[in-house]
Amino acid sequence: MTTVPFPHEHEFETQDLMINMGPQHPSTHGVFRMVLQVDGEVVRDVVPYIGYMHRGGEKLAETMDFRQGIGWMDRTEYLAQHNAELSYVMAVEALAELEVPERAQWIRMILCELNRLSSHFMFTGAFGTDAGIFGTAFVYSFREREVILDLFEEISGDRLMYAYFRPGGLAWDVPDNFARRVAEVLKSTRQGIKDMDGLLTENEIFRARTVDIGKISAADAIDWGCTGPVLRASGVPLDLRRTEPYLYYDQLDFDIITGTNGDVYDRFVVRVEEMRQSVRIIEQCMERLRPGPILPDRLPRMLRTPPGEVYLRTEAPRGEYGIYMVSRGGNRPHRLKIRSSCFANLQALRDMTIGSYVADAVVILGSLDIVLCEVDR
């Protein structure tokens, strides 16, 4: 057990206090539990407990055919549902060797990036609350997230569990006013990013709370298996959209945002800047979107895949979201494993937190942007 040397240890014997934070705690983002061993206000050890949200999603998905499983992917990652569905359907497509029409791919990209925006808005809002703003950041973020969810509802019919992607394309085409609606959403999103940025990024108190807190070096981040903004904030330009382009990301012009310091502040700024890049990507996608089919010409009524296995990863808002799928033929996966980005990012929590203050522990946990449904699955 790692301990931080304390100057008075030999002079005056003190007893550390164990604080049980969670599973019902306002800032543990769901049902995460961590037991803090504190010496006054200084955290000397953290023991995280996960599994309160475990529903056996992977096993359940093995009992479902490829279309039914899509609904389960929504429920593993309830803030970036389109991204989760994308990984799943792309894995199925890779197994079944399906050709996806061009229009479906562009729409998938637009929706995934919009979903990244909504997920990052959720992060900035919740993070503002963790840092101690009385709800303002949260409400500003939710205002913008609401606009994006409205668009998703108009397209897919549901606000949260879209079940819109299908192996081979999309369930149905987008409505006719799609282009106009996306333009409206982007307009309000830009305003929202500006508000968030103005509210937090330069604020001295916010910087005092986040700069040099929860630092993790690039090497440590790689060793822990961190991906996504947590890794990029440490200065590693690993973004699967650029390094292993899927869909049509290689045709687009966008920046990979990396931080320099690997602290909480960098993780925040990287996400805010990523939102700007997502807006750029969506604008480019809208220019390239053409009418056409959204499903392959010949798609069997019940999709069956040849035997085989595939690991397919995409860049979800929280990092690498991978699907490992084994098929023994038939209409359902023999084995399904989800490589969860949050689960890997959460492993670094203990390293980041030890030696900081109790208040910092909350901010560090917030900066990892965990979704407990994805961690526990």
């Binding site: 503002g128 101690g132 916010f206």
Partner: protein, 386 residues
């Protein structure tokens, strides 16, 4: 033995009872109004509507909440220390209401004129921390304990700048009598000649009231309400009442001491109605500022909070007290004294701002990589990263 209450000669005890009744009645109404006002104002800051469903425009929301709190079961944890737990709300509640005795609303509109009114307010206001620590200790809850210790540390730290800022004004006014302080401001309120004490006062009341960015003891996202975490029903509402009563009283105090109270800019000869309106407007502006800061600022950390108080605010407030004392002793002509004080005070304020700017470092340039510069790392675990 008779006293004069609004022109009526009445018995001393009846007078005392009447004044006490006025306090309690007035405070309850004011607190309900403040809660409603805060919810509405903060809602507008967040593009929401706030309470709308109880009564016209939600006006009765506070009444409904109060009724609910009174009717709720008063739960006490089994392992709590019964006496300490049950008595703690009174230790928070009573000192706040005692502060009310010396606060003037308008000329001759106060409970009692005390010659050492300022001193009395300060002395009484710091008692309630005992209640906080009792609540934290008695609850037998670690969050409550942590919150109570934070509250104690914070209250002690910020009591000193508060005292210093008010003392420096008292020195300028040559009196600790609040009515005298208001009268001495004359044409120009104290905030003009003494901006630094006003700043210190504002920061200190934010800390005294446990409001953002100093809501560390009750920080919802860290200690889940701090000392109040185990309280419910009527006892919890007493803490709440005390919090808003303190906000109201300290805003009135700030309006009287720094913003010229009921006198400036109309002068004392204006009628009671105008005086009350002026006081209310000035206190209202202060309260609005508190709400505005609350919706904007993140929370400081406990060590940063203490450092800000002991290393920045306190030394600078000593300088201000020293300057004011020198002016008092050597008695230069009035206009020279004023300019001197304003110069010292302004310089001190600028120094505080400078320290605040430089203590957190410059904002880093936004990290952006050029579009094609970022290629795949040769391996996910490259030697370059090592």
């Amino acid at each position: 033995m008779n006293n004069d209450l609004f022109g009526f000669e009445i018995n001393v005890w009846a007078d005392a009872a009447a004044r006490l009744g006025l306090i309690v009645g007035l405070m309850t109404v004011v607190v309900m109004g403040l809660i409603y006002g805060e919810r509405k104002i903060i809602a507008r800051f967040q593009q929401r509507l706030g309470p709308t469903r109880t009564g016209p425009a939600g006006l009765l929301q506070s009444v409904a909440d109060a009724l609910k709190l009174v009717a709720k079961e008063d739960v006490r944890p089994r392992s709590a220390d019964p006496w300490v737990f049950e008595l703690a709300p009174y230790f928070v509640f009573v000192p706040i209401f005692l502060m009310f005795v010396a606060i003037p609303f308008a000329l001759r509109w106060e409970i009692r004129v005390l010659e050492l009114g300022l001193f009395y307010v300060l002395a009484v206001s710091s008692v309630n921390i005992v209640g906080w620590v009792m609540a934290g200790w008695g609850s037998d809850n670690r969050y409550a304990m942590l919150g109570a210790l934070r509250a104690a540390a914070q209250a002690i730290s910020y009591e000193l700048p508060l005292v210093m800022s008010l003392i420096s004004v008292g020195i300028v006014a040559d009196s600790f009598n609040l009515t005298e302080i208001v009268r001495s401001q004359g044409q120009v309120p104290n905030i003009v000649w003494q901006p630094l004490p006003f700043f210190l006062f504002f920061v200190a009341i934010l800390a005294e009231l446990n409001r953002t960015p100093f809501d560390i003891p009750v920080g919802e996202s860290e200690v889940v309400g701090g000392p109040f975490v185990e309280y419910s029903g009527i006892r919890w509402s007493m803490f709440f009442l005390a919090e808003y009563a303190a906000l109201f009283i300290l805003a009135l105090l700030g309006a009287a001491v720094f913003l010229g109270g009921w006198a400036w800019p109309l002068g004392e000869e204006w009628g009671l109605g105008w005086q009350l309106v002026l006081t209310a407007l000035k206190a209202g502006a202060l309260i609005f500022a508190v709400f505005w800061v609350r919706v904007t600022m993140p929370r400081l950390r406990i060590d940063q909070l203490m450092a800000f108080s002991w290393k920045v605010l306190l030394p600078i407030s000593f300088v201000q007290v020293l300057a004011n004392g020198l002016v008092l002793v050597y008695e230069p002509p009035q206009h020279i004294a004023n300019i001197l004080l304003a110069a010292v005070s302004g310089a001190g304020l600028l120094l505080v701002v400078w320290i605040m700017n430089h203590s957190v470092g410059k904002p880093r340039p936004r990290p952006v990589l050029s579009p094609r510069a970022a290629t795949a790392p040769t391996a996910t675990r490259s030697e370059a990263a090592r």
